[in-house]
Subunit: 246 residues, 2 copies
């Protein structure tokens, strides 16, 4: 399937019409015509093969010929919650790379030392969709609006929860060792879900770290390297995927 | 040491003068003066604390007060050889992130399907130095000029050598499993060095893959995700560092 170009159609099985952006691309750029074969993912676990039935100036209608339900390539739900960096391009590449590597959900945190307190999640969503198509992912990661740190950590979450930080006075365990060490037997009884928090350029405040610990988050480090926020976010995703891959 | 700003001075113990770029930054931007304390890394494993002894229009002289030899945080020599992407910004961020995470050497390969056959390694070197300073690395990764694929793989290398590729007709093992599985006893007798090859956007040619195997490279995959060249390069470094960390 190396050369197949995918479209993204979340309502694939309902509408039989490509979404506006995708239709424009199909008609104006690829100049697809009635009878041509297309592939798309619905972002919910399936690839579809379809035949184009009608092309107008703006619309591209199709008929699904074959639906191929995909197998997940990692266990559990990997959720990264991160304070976005001051420079948007740094968050954006992180989101692209995390999508390629494979994760399930991203949330943005407004923290005490946040350099950026607003984020255009519509731009993030576009980058995610583009990476989903490029890397042929059957599931599209969920992109959430920004939340205050406290609001986020008070919400109940399945599975294990972690906060990455650099405070030496708070004891930390190694993130990758913790998530890799669950024995086969234990894993049958425990959720594989991971929620991991990464702070802003100036780190979380010590009060935020303590508040997270009080809410069931485990205190962790990503290793001995001093990482930028966006690199830490990507490493957290990469390690989670590696520990949970099937 | 969180707030310490480092300079990079590869000839630190010989010249007692900051390199031109660093001196300009120290004098014009930071407005440092005689008597001020500075820190720098020599890129060969040591941090130095020094006192500025003389500042002129263009020069910044110092006297080393304390030399702090650093402990490595990973075993062995991690060498990534990669075909650079068409878009330079993609290679550049990869190099920045790989330096933050931690590796030892980068080479650029000119392959059959390369989209870019020239690369300005002076720009890459600058990015590496900047990331070394920002992430407080005691060792600076080596940046090599571009080589033809065949030239590169014919050179002798210590340790294990790997080629990442997507051909289904060539059997592959999992890269991370292979480099993680060395038992403690074995590791006493074997070099921890890793050389890993990542191909261009269109992958290596099958002939290149076979040529590498003939030269002692092991055929590997980085996992089930379909990764862009620069993401694959970063994942190869990230996995190597994780498998070799101390």
């Amino acid at each position: 399937m190396k050369e197949v170009r995918f479209f993204y159609a979340p309502e694939a099985t309902i509408t039989e019409e490509l979404p506006q952006d995708e239709a424009t691309h199909a008609i104006r750029v690829l100049r697809l015509q009635s009878g041509d074969e297309i592939f798309f993912m619905d972002g919910k676990g399936a690839f579809h093969r379809a035949e184009i039935t009608l092309v107008t100036n703006k619309k591209c209608m199709y008929r699904i010929v074959e639906t191929m339900q995909q197998e997940p390539t990692w266990r559990g739900h990997i959720h990264l919650a991160i304070a976005p960096t001051k420079m948007m391009d740094r968050v954006e590449w992180m989101v692209e790379k995390a999508t390629e590597i494979g994760f399930d959900e991203i949330s943005f945190l407004n923290c005490r030392f946040s350099e950026r307190t607003k984020i255009r999640t519509d731009r993030i969503e576009k980058i995610v969709v583009s990476a989903v198509k490029q890397s042929h992912k059957a599931w599209k990661p969920i992109v959430n609006e920004m939340l205050d740190f406290k609001n986020f950590i008070c919400q109940p979450r399945e599975g294990r929860k972690f906060i990455c930080h650099c405070y030496e006075e708070v004891s930390k365990e190694d993130f990758f060792s913790l998530i890799s060490s669950v024995s086969q037997e234990e894993s049958l009884h425990e959720s594989d879900d991971i929620t991991v928090l990464v702070g802003p350029e100036g780190d979380f405040s010590i009060d935020e770290v303590r508040m997270a610990l009080d809410n069931g988050y485990e205190s962790v480090t990503l290793g001995k390297s001093r990482l930028r926020t966006e690199t830490a976010g990507l490493q957290a995703v990469s390690m989670s995927n590696l520990a949970r891959r099937i």
